[in-house]
């Protein structure tokens, strides 16, 4: 089985978010970048398939040379090869179009992407790849088993879970639950050394228009101070929630 794991290079979850150039660009000063957490669950599941069932795992992203440490980390975790599409990830459609080309050229059976990246939160890429290559698609995937050409998955739905069956080629939008958080891997020294020898191929992007343009950013208005209520006066809290906030 050939697996492609789509990796997004995103600010660490604890990052403070700031913008520069008249609020038109993300300010990456002092920001540490990591593998998008939703992708990391998928990468770990791909490692499980590789180790238990035999699979070849390639990771891919769309981005400049600055994103290579993130791909190298994925290689250190155990991926066999990496592909960087040397383009600027302008929007979700542009990224999906580039990755769909990678999928078609590489003839992958299973494509794992995170349900969304934690930076732009577009939630577009996995579904758009599936739409572009006409593959089966499961979003919000929290469990995946593969048996030959057949797949059984569980996806999260509002208020519960749905078990579905499908067949390869398959694209999933994965998330927490696909593997346990405790199963996520930290690269060890051997993995880091081995990763240096693994192929990281850089390919040039397709010429394609983006469907949307990021114009500017703004941060939420600063909040007023919290109104503290004494634990001995909870009637006051109910009064505030009823009469002032009007939420109960």
């Amino acid at each position: 089985m050939k697996i492609l794991v789509c990796i997004s290079h995103v600010p660490d979850t604890t990052s403070k978010i700031n913008f520069t150039e008249n609020n038109s660009k993300f300010d990456n000063t002092g920001v540490q970048f990591v593998i998008n957490p939703n992708d990391e669950f998928g990468l770990t599941r791909a490692m499980w398939f590789k180790e238990k069932q035999g699979a070849n795992v390639t990771v891919a992203n769309v981005g400049g040379p600055e994103t290579e440490p993130t791909l190298r980390k994925a290689l250190a975790i155990g991926a066999d090869a990496a592909i960087r599409v040397n383009g600027v990830a302008i929007d979700g459609f542009y990224v999906a179009k580039q990755l769909a080309k990678v999928v078609q050229d590489g003839n992958y059976d299973l494509i794992i992407a995170g349900r969304e990246s934690i930076d732009y939160n577009g939630g577009m890429v996995p579904g758009m790849i599936a739409g572009l290559i006409d593959a089966n698609f499961i979003n919000n995937c929290i469990s995946l088993e593969i048996d030959g050409e057949n797949a059984t998955a569980i996806r999260e739905i509002d208020g519960g879970k749905e078990t579905v069956s499908t067949s390869l080629p398959l694209v999933i939008g994965g998330q927490k639950g696909l593997v346990e958080e405790s199963d996520l891997r930290i690269p060890n020294m051997r993995g880091i050394m081995t990763a240096r020898q693994k192929p990281l191929t850089v390919i040039e992007p397709l010429t394609t228009d983006a469907q949307s343009t990021s114009i500017s950013f703004e941060k939420p208005a600063p909040k007023g101070a919290v109104k503290l209520v004494s634990p001995d006066n909870l009637d006051e809290l109910i009064n505030l929630l009823h009469n002032e906030a009007k939420v109960i």
Binding site: D91, N121, N139, N140, F217, K227
Partner: protein, 319 residues
């Protein structure tokens, strides 16, 4: 040319979010000087949609659509958009709508903006405000394609009543081969889901163990709320992953979010930023959550919450 809105229903009944996206579609239609057409799938009655500005309803009755399937639903919405020559398609931000959106976007060659929080800033060029960085910021996005697909954030736009004629027309789109077969659906029938909840009651490590969750559930019961938890709680296995709220868990955009025994890590706060009113109950007055909250009680959850439950019961009995 009509603005098309996909209205979600459950067991034949329109969901509240259907009226919210209809309200949004009407606002866009007003800006464009056009009408609103809704698409309703296996919905018993669509008459209420006219209160939110819907002029026409394309009503689909098809047993193969009883269970949601992103591909078939996307195909149905695409065919409706083609038929109505819609240049703007409005959907919600439910899990299912976010599932069908990218397929629909590819099918319509429509630029998709998810998590949109306001009516368009302008329609030519078409600019919308959406949340990004898990609610730590907003992004102004310009959609460049002729057809625009807008995913409206829950509770962001609200319900706005405006008259529409609500005429119903039967519609029978062709449904493609699905590729995915639903085997079973496991849904807690008597529990409010986080996505649908107006109020969410959430517990953290301050609850000390899963055996103490009774007070969270009882408070949620009194308020008709959903229950949720912080990441450490789901990591410890005290509560299921599906209740984890935060950057890598579920985002919450409720009217009221009550955090009990949660200190307020940056990733948790990112997940609840879109909630309108936040209440925090914590023993530690230095907990970062107090900086993000509207109302706070510094106190022991095991003393405060049972009292709050009793007082809320009395308040509800009076109302």
């Amino acid at each position: 040319m009509s603005v098309l809105v996909y209205t979600e229903s459950e067991n034949g009944t329109l969901k509240k979010v259907a009226f919210e996206v209809a309200s949004y579609a009407k606002a866009v239609a007003n800006q464009l000087g056009t009408t609103v057409t809704a698409i309703a799938i296996n919905t018993n009655s669509t008459s209420e949609l006219e209160k939110y500005g819907v002029d026409k309803v394309l009503s689909i009755t098809n047993s193969s659509l009883d269970t949601f399937n992103a591909k078939s639903y996307a195909a149905a919405v695409k065919e409706a958009a083609d038929k109505e020559n819609s240049k703007v398609v409005v959907i919600s931000s439910s899990i299912n709508s976010k599932y069908l959106a990218p397929l629909l976007s590819v099918g319509l060659n429509a630029g998709y903006a998810s998590n949109v929080v306001e009516a368009p800033i302008s329609t030519a060029p078409f600019k919308v405000k959406r949340t990004a960085f898990t609610n730590k910021a907003f992004e102004i996005t310009q959609i460049e394609t002729e057809i625009k697909l807008i995913g409206v954030s829950k509770n962001a736009f609200g319900l706005i009543e405006e008259n529409g004629s609500g005429a119903v027309e039967d519609f029978s789109p062709s449904i493609p081969e699905l590729g995915i077969t639903s085997k079973s659906i496991n849904k807690a029938s008597n529990k409010v889901s986080i996505a649908d909840a107006e109020i969410v009651v959430s517990g953290g490590r301050g609850l000390k163990g899963p055996e103490n969750w009774g007070i969270i559930e009882e408070l949620a019961d009194v308020l008709g709320a959903a229950t949720a938890c912080s990441k450490p709680v789901s990591d410890l296995g005290w509560r299921p992953h599906s209740e984890h709220v935060g950057q890598t868990g579920k985002p919450v955009a409720s009217n009221l979010y009550i955090a009990i025994g949660i200190s307020g890590a940056i990733q948790h706060l990112a997940g609840i930023n879109a909630s309108k009113v936040k209440v925090v109950i914590n023993t530690d007055p230095e907990a970062p959550f107090f900086k993000a909250a509207d109302y706070g009680v510094v106190g022991d959850a095991f003393e405060v919450v049972p009292q709050l439950i009793e007082k809320l019961k009395a308040f509800k009995a009076q109302e």
